[in-house]
Amino acid sequence: MASRAKFKDTDMQHIIGWILRGGVAVSMTVVVIGGVFFIYRHGESVSDFHVFKGIPDFIGSPKKVLQSTLQLHGLAIIQLGIALLIATPVLRVVFAAIGFILEKDRLYTMISIIVLLVIIVSMITGRIG
């Protein structure tokens, strides 16, 4: 209330709404495209997920997902879309942090950065474990 910064909470709400919408739209488009490829090629195959076997090797790492995507592997394209979907709320935190910097709100800039750090730690530990 005290500060009359040019960048206001309503601007941030607008941008965050836009990011969420855009992120979902882009990732879903990618998922649907991958789904079409996958169903077209493997629609008649038998699906069995009764026992946990992880995921196929050709999508086993970010690098492999990208390589297989270029080869138009349906599952790889879907996985890329899902990665983009997971990135959407993270991107939202990044933009909120930028918004708080513009509002000159130090406390909430810090809070946003802490949230990002928790996610980064989670990302790094997930790979090791």
Partner: protein, 278 residues
Amino acid sequence: MSVILFTIIIVIGAYFAGLLGSLTGLGGGFIIIPLLTLVLHVDIHYAIGGSLVSVIATSSGAAAAYVKEGITNIRIGMFLEIATTAGAFTGAILAVYVPTTYIAVLFGVILIFSAIMSLQKKAEHILREQSPLVKRLKLGGTYPVDGEMVEYGVSNVVGGFFTMLFAGVISGLLGIGSGALKVLAMDSIMRIPFKVSTTTSNFMIGVTAAASAVVYFQRGYIHPAIAMPVVIGVLLGAVSGSKILVQATSSNWLRWTFAVIVTLISIQMIYNGVTGKI
């Protein structure tokens, strides 16, 4: 079962999960996981992975609409996300070590709790006074009531924060949004107006789920053949749901239908967990 039939069944089930999830503010996981494990006999780890993805889609899809309405309190959300993301990370790590039997039973228990929570009468209370901590954290806000902006305060920040930590652990462990716990923390403990609580809960669910999804993604719990129909169905359902909520508050029959369905599903999950079928 053929891939195409498997995909179609999940899309339809996920549509209803997304619809109910956004109408009740509880996320879509409570239908996705039982559908995948009980009906389609999918391993619970894949189910949790697929559900987490659906939770992110539901939250982001609906939150985009609410944020623009100006109901969501971004500061409350951001502050409490410290607790939920830290909890979600812990939960995702725990999920590797906790036997699936316990996960299934815990899932059922949380579901019953969600059903009870959803039946409670939600009085729209507005807190006027603000403690020094609340002022320091700038948690109070305004939200539209009948076209006018009304100011509200927040109480018991510490209690709310710790409940959110727990909500995060449950979310990470079970692959659900744990919206019921988030609404409990904000509505009952922090005394935030109900409409603000539900929309802010929805807003937080995506980031919370992302914190554990990055762990699941790398461990191979998120299988694209399952996640694809889940995410498409849920998103279509969430879009339908958010349109209904913005126009009118959820009616009584909807809450009762939801509570009955959820209780039946919970009993199934607990039963299958105890007998070791999951």
